[in-house]
């Protein structure tokens, strides 16, 4: 029986690449995304290529949706071996005095609370299985901070330490939890706002490896954290960023 992975944000750039990478390795991937159409699209691609995939819509900030989706997936497939929380992000850049309370909460919810709600539902299943791998998504800004992104940096820093705490809590049941921290990555979402040419000018000179990340670069790290070669790894943060940040 193949492993089952639940991937939030699976319809997006990084999430889609993670779903494709895991499916290529024979993992059954459940692609969950706020944008159900985007999830369906990734699913169709994977299925057309001979992989196993399912798609569904989810708002990870709403507890009852999260609970229903996790229960449904667990019922349908009997288990959840891998949870990749990739849903999140924030396009807002503003000075602190310009952020409204509602905007702060929106960024916190989409990133940190969504990760919490997903982990809260999936962790008990994994503990019962005595195996499981959770991979959460932070950002290099969660370590360095970023001017004009106070809520996003705070949420991502929160994910790093939340994951460490979760790792300690779940370790006795052989459930591992780690964080992947991307740097600047060329996803369709960011490239809607900034052209490749502009990204090259802004980022490439600052990055030792001379380019921004492709979603596939990140996907390899998520996939590695699901393999037996990573059996001794828990509570850690993996920066994949071409060297732009070396904590």
């Amino acid at each position: 029986m193949s492993s089952v992975a639940l991937i939030t944000g699976g319809g997006g750039g990084i999430g889609g690449a993670v779903a494709r990478r895991m499916a290529a390795a024979g993992i059954m991937v459940v692609i969950a995304d706020y944008d159900g159409g985007a999830a369906e699209k990734v699913k169709s691609e994977i299925v057309a290529g001979g992989g196993n995939a399912d798609a569904l819509a989810i708002d990870v900030t709403v507890a009852r949706e999260v609970n229903a989706v996790v229960a449904d997936v667990a019922k349908r497939y009997g288990r959840i071996d891998i949870l990749a929380n990739i849903a999140g992000g924030s396009a807002d850049t503003k000075r602190i005095e310009e952020f409204t309370w509602a905007q702060w909460k929106e960024v916190m919810d989409a990133n940190l609370k969504g990760t919490f709600l997903m982990c809260r539902e999936v962790a008990p299943l994994m503990q019962k299985q005595k195996s499981g791998r959770i991979i959460n998504t932070a950002s290099n800004y969660g370590v360095t901070g970023s001017a004009l992104r106070t809520p996003y940096a705070a949420a991502k820093a929160g994910i790093i330490t939340f994951t460490k705490s979760l790792a300690l809590e779940l370790a006795p049941d052989l459930v591992r939890a780690n964080t992947v921290a991307p740097g600047p990555t060329d996803t369709p979402r960011v490239m809607e706002k900034e052209s490749m040419e502009a990204r090259k000018q802004r980022w490439w000179p600052q990055i030792p490896l001379g380019r921004t990340a492709l979603p596939q670069d990140l996907a390899e790290m998520y996939f590695f954290l699901t393999t037996p070669q990573s059996a001794a790894i828990t509570g850690q943060t993996f920066h994949v960023n071409g060297g732009v940040v070396m904590p």
């Binding site: 460490k164 790792a167 300690l168 370790a171 006795p172 052989l174 591992r176 990055i207 030792p208 490896l209 001379g210 990340a213 492709l214 670069d217 390899e220 790290m221 996939f223 590695f224 393999t227 037996p228 070669q229 990573s230 059996a231 001794a232 790894i233 828990t234 509570g235 850690q236 943060t237 993996f238 920066h239 994949v240 960023n241 071409g242 060297g243 070396m246 904590p247």
Partner: protein
């Protein structure tokens, strides 16, 4: 096979983490230089690799000796004409001594072997990697380089220095397509901790991790092989902890 036809040079390869690394690399298709101060043991490991069907060359090296390191590089290029991967595993973890009792000789020896070796080995292999516009360098640091350890100030300082060196070199050679990263193992099931602890103490420590998983050399080798593979092309300047959850920096 993730390392098909890559040439990998691994120091400290006669035992423990180094040995596990070269065996895994051989299985992944790499041609391996098994470098170690202990020539006979290195030859035994090379023979193990031959038995797996992998190409291997055993080389005697003192990684803190400039002439010896140059000879290792010469032997590598004579036999394989290239070097794609350098893994700096060779290191020492002895003697145990308080700062006030530590001799200058022991301080120098630890720093030279644990981090001076990184400088000497990288200096020999970076030019070839630069010329081919690709290369992977992976150095063994240690969690002790982050959090320190009483009576091991020399070891802690040397391993923190490895992380600093890795970051600086990563910046220097990134534009040439070379990645440089460190692995920080926790206490692993090797001969190293047994140099100053009883068997009982060693096993107790190995079992005292949050994740009930005794850290074996193969666990470290798995991450080294990942960093050496194409999958890690965009990772550089990082220090990854592999420690069954002992600490989380």
């Amino acid at each position: 096979m993730r390392l098909k036809d890559k040439v990998a040079v691994v120091t400290g390869a006669a035992q423990g983490i180094g040995r596990a690394t070269v065996l895994m690399m051989g299985r992944e298709g790499a041609k391996v230089v098994v470098a170690d101060l202990q020539a006979e043991k290195a030859q035994t490991v090379a023979n193990e690799l031959h038995a797996l069907g992998a190409e291997a060359l055993a080389v005697e090296v003192d990684v803190a000796d400039e002439t010896s390191v140059k000879r290792m590089a010469r032997n590598t290029f004579e036999r394989f004409q290239r070097a794609d991967i350098l893994v700096n595993v060779a290191g020492i973890y002895y003697p145990k001594a308080s700062v006030v009792d530590l001799t200058e000789e022991d301080w120098d020896r630890t720093i030279n072997v644990n981090v001076g070796s990184n400088f000497l080995c990288c200096r020999e292999f970076v030019p070839a990697m630069r010329a081919q516009k690709s290369g992977r360098i992976i150095s063994l640091a240690s969690g002790i380089g982050h959090y320190g350890m009483r009576q091991f100030s020399h070891y802690a300082a040397s391993k923190a220095a490895v992380m600093g060196f890795v970051k600086a070199l990563a910046r220097e050679v990134g534009p040439d397509g070379i990645t440089v990263n460190a692995i920080c193992p926790g206490s692993a099931n090797t001969s190293m901790p047994r140099q100053h602890r009883s068997e009982e103490e060693v096993m107790e420590r190995l079992r005292a991790t949050p994740l009930p998983h005794i850290l074996e050399p193969e666990d470290i080798a798995g991450s080294i092989v990942f960093l050496a593979s194409d999958a890690a092309a965009f990772i550089t300047g990082q220090s990854y902890n592999i420690n069954s959850g002992t600490y989380m920096f």
